[in-house]
Assembly symmetry: C2
Homo-oligomer: 190 residues x 2
């Protein structure tokens, strides 16, 4: 038996990982988290289950990887004022909430209600999404633009909450103007 | 063959409908909307599928009935001020969000992303939940307590959104005090 060229092995590994990710994205978008089983990912991607488990030891690890790639972490803007920064972040979240990720997220939240491993995944993805908000609020508090006794999570909830509400409840359009208004009102309400 | 006494038939119908509802509630709470199939409801309740379909012609009809019973429509409070009314409504929603319904709702939202019939169910349940808010806002606008150009749905989103955010994202406690603060800030932010 010929010994494989290591470069060719790397290339083969890269391709099968890519095929697994593509199949996982497809299933996530079509059916939500509940639609992703390692069996089905293997069937769609043509990659053997043993190979999938070599790269992702559990279904949760595969889901975490796929979900992290669907939700690139937003950068903290630096517009010169906390009002501008929060408006920019609200706009960027509104954009994300019209994309592919937003139709997957309810299935993550649903699974998190019942499965502690997926609850941890949800918390981790959410913390990553919120890091930029915490940076902006922390900077504004350090500069004295925001009172130190304002809980960052209250302000974040006052912006994220109405955006989520529009996306999943009232289903009104998530325009950038609506996002800016939400951020302004959250700041004014403090 | 003896002809059944009509009262006894009614009683038998009542009992089998009750058994079907109890099985549906159980499945909804354990597994969310995705866990409710007419097959499984039949198995758990011991009621034949044909009988279930006689009372609820579709799975969606059964789900709508069960979900409506889980989410009693809130009454519009009348405390004498819009601030008091909104705080009372926010408290009542916070109470609901710590109950059984709140662990089912994400599965409804998830299903609504993909299934138009369940999207209609979600919209209908949501409208019922929000009717009291619309009544309070409409009354305050009629009395001149709130400007007429405030969109009720923006104010509702500024209260409901942060409550939902706490329940499903930050997972901070949904205390009545937190609910009142959210309502106050939403009103002040306008």
């Amino acid at each position: 038996m010929a010994i494989d060229n290591p470069n060719r092995v790397d290339e083969r590994v890269r391709r099968s990982k890519q095929a697994v990710m593509a199949a996982t994205f497809g299933l996530l978008t079509e059916a939500g988290l509940g639609g992703v089983s390692v069996d089905e990912v293997s069937r769609r991607s043509g990659v053997a289950k043993t190979t999938i488990y070599r790269h992702w030891p559990t279904r949760a690890a595969l889901l975490l990887d796929a979900c992290s790639q669907l939700t690139a972490r937003p950068e903290a803007p630096d517009t010169g004022s906390v009002a501008g920064d929060l408006a920019a972040l609200a706009e960027s979240i509104a954009d994300r909430l019209t994309g592919r990720w937003s139709s997957v997220l309810p299935s993550v939240i649903d699974a998190a209600e019942r499965d502690p491993e997926l609850a941890a995944l949800h918390a981790r993805l959410h913390d990553e999404m919120m890091a930029a908000f915490h940076e902006v609020v922390g900077r504004a508090q350090a500069k004295g633009e925001l009172p130190k006794d304002v809980a960052a999570s209250d302000l974040i909830g006052a912006i994220m909450g109405p955006l989520f509400y529009r996306r999943w409840f009232s289903r009104e359009p998530l325009t950038r103007e609506a996002a800016r208004t939400i951020a302004d009102r959250a700041l004014r309400g403090l």
